[in-house]
Amino acid sequence: MRFVDEFRNAELASAVSASITALCEPGRHYKIMEVCGGHTHTIYRYGVQDHLPDTIELVHGPGCPVCVIPMGRVDDGIAIAERDDVIFTCFGDMMRVPGGNGSLLEAKARGADVRMVYSPLDALRIARENPDRQTVFYAIGFETTAPSTALTLMRAKADGISNFSVFCNHVTIIPAIKAILDSPDLRLDAFIGPGHVSTVIGCRPYDFIPRLHGKPLVCAGFEPLDLLQSVYMIMKQLAEGRTEVENQYGRVVQWDGNPRALQVMADVFALRPYFEWRGLGSISHSALMLSPRYADFDAELRFSTPGVRVADPKACQCGEVLKGVLKPWECKVFGTACTPETPIGTCMVSSEGACAAYYNYGQYAKQRIHLEV
């Protein structure tokens, strides 16, 4: 397929791979965190690690939107979904995320009207088609998905669709990166920046990472060659003693982001004073709520929810895994109490979580397997 296959070319990959190896300092081990779950997916889907020397380790970060939703917020969503008058809509991969009392998929099996949508606009269409029922959209995601929620709310307001509301769980990426950087036992050399988030927020918000923490960040696209090139750019910075924000994903990401998207977000959302992240704990100013002008569409105000904070299980060491301090297999419950079928911690929830990825692929990802068939 044109404009896709070019970014998955094995010959080009080998050439970039050789350049990366040439930049490695002998005896040095590099840890690079890809912040975004989409990158984690690409790494495992295409075998990107096969093109990297053993001394470069990719650490999977917190940018998996479903993984960071705390259990209490899942329970709140289920409480709304189980009302007889509600059609509850959400993205597909949210359906299986367990709360304190099961997942939305299980709530659906108990009789709740839970429907998967590809876009919040689909949820709005369902609201129009069902005027005698309440349609609720369970909004999740970083700045990538927040603008589409904002535009949907603007349309709902303009068209006066009163049976539509949003349960807002949008989070912002910068406070999460800060939380990781502020950890005393941080062992990362550099970051691969989230491409889709950067499409919206641009590259400027990452300035503090090289400036205050002395670590490079390269915004990267989602094809395997994008990732390989951004590792090359990071290695080049490290070899030359530079620490900067660079943009590998120039075909999509503008340095200043998307001002129009930022404007609609500013119109529709307000920052929450704090928000609980699964695995990382409470982080101040790290999430969005509906602004007072859109309070009429706020499902948290329209419906009563338990609002109970469900603490992460004590044994779970997701925080350490997310910071790259522990490898997934070093966690005490990994692979025994905590598995992809019965996850305890955030990292095991979605296939993009660091632990689930390792559980499913890990032992074979590091092997050099000869696959001439």
């Binding site: 998955r8 990959a13 093109h51 991969d93 990994f334 499913n360 990802a365 068939v373």
Partner: protein, 360 residues
């Protein structure tokens, strides 16, 4: 405080967990139990098979094999609940006949007779029903197998989605044919009979919820002529065949890898796929390897007959796009690996439930 294990010990524990007989611990049935992945396996092998315990069922083949007076009978059943009931390339009636014919075919059995149970929703238009019975009749003629018995039930409006069909089939396996996952061995070549993912993608698009238009048609077709051609070309060198329906080719490969305790390796670029299916998969975030087919088989053939097998498949109109996609290895047992087009490798595991689109 448990002792800290080494990475290899943790890995060994995960492999042991994968091989354990699945347990069914869920409180209710969810849609995931119907998707053909890990949750389906837990339901079937953790609840149903232990209670109905018998050797023919325990083999968990596409059809049960029963010896009757020296004749080997293959016996199978399948339920069809597709929505919408008509879609580009086929309809529920055609699917119901082909699905059961194919479960027999990949067991090496010539279809002898089918039964059909129709569950109809109150209010269903007679013309719609007539069209589906006609579709069943046409499919039965094409597969050269009669529908010899059946049943009809009507349920109240809203209790089923227009109509459901259950078909059962019986066939005969020629002497000397013994197909089973346990016969698959290292060195075997893996063949796929044509482009994959067509049926599942056609259904997703036909539901009209995605605003994507593409000319993708279901591949529903009978596979007996293909299966017979393979048996003819390979004889005893044909070790196993599977019908890659729910869960797609990836799930079939995993079932074989686990049952035969072998490693399975495929080269992604050799797996036949239509550009429209690749494109829809890219947009929807769905991997065609996990998407259902209704007229494609996967065959495991000893290496010395692999080329003959490929020729036999390509010589049949239902198999013109057939390809050798990979081979069986000793290592890693129970696992499926793919060489990616990017020149790396990936694990191809069984999904828990339906392939869910990723959000970003």
């Amino acid at each position: 405080m448990p002792k800290q294990l080494t990475e290899d010990e943790v890995g060994g524990r995960i492999e042991a967990m994968r091989r354990r007989r699945p347990r069914f611990v869920d409180e209710r049935i969810t849609m995931a139990h119907g998707a053909g992945g890990k949750a389906s396996r837990q339901l079937v092998e953790g609840l149903i098979v232990p209670l109905l315990d018998n050797p023919a069922l325990a083999a968990l083949g596409d059809a049960a094999l029963l010896g009757v007076n020296g004749t080997q009978l293959a016996f199978t059943t399948d339920a069809f609940v597709v929505r919408p009931i008509r879609f580009p390339g086929g309809s529920i009636g055609e699917l119901a006949v082909n699905g059961t014919v194919n479960d027999l075919a990949v067991s090496g059995a010539r279809p002898l007779a089918l039964s059909a149970g129709l569950i109809l929703e109150e209010g269903l238009a007679a013309d719609v029903l007539r069209a589906e019975v006609e579709a069943m009749a046409a499919a039965a003629r094409r597969a050269d197998v009669p529908v010899t018995t059946g049943d009809t039930k009507v349920v109240e409006r809203g209790k089923c989605d227009s109509m459901y069909i259950v078909t059962t089939g019986v066939g005969t396996v020629a002497p000397g044919i013994a197909l089973a996952p346990t016969r698959v061995r290292p060195g075997d070549k893996i063949l796929v009979s044509g482009t994959i993912g067509d049926h599942g993608v056609a259904i997703m698009l036909a539901r009209g919820e995605l605003d994507i238009e593409a000319d993708v048609r279901s591949d529903t077709q009978p596979l007996w002529s293909l299966a017979a051609a393979l048996i003819e070309a390979c004889g005893d060198h044909l070790h196993c065949m599977r019908d890659a329906t729910r869960g797609g080719v990836a799930t079939v490969l995993n079932e074989i890898a686990l049952a035969a305790e072998v490693g399975v390796v495929i080269a992604e670029e050799r797996v036949p796929m239509r550009p429209e299916v690749i494109g829809a998969g890219e947009i929807l975030g769905i991997d065609p390897l996990y998407v259902a087919n209704e007229g494609k088989l996967v065959a495991f053939v000893a290496p010395e007959r692999a080329d003959a097998a490929l020729e036999a498949l390509r010589g049949d109109p239902a198999g013109v796009d057939a390809a050798i996609v990979g081979e069986v290895r000793e290592e890693p047992p129970g696992r499926v690996l793919g060489r990616t087009t990017f020149g790396g490798h990936r694990m191809i595991d069984v999904l828990v439930g339906d392939p869910l689109p990723r959000i970003c």
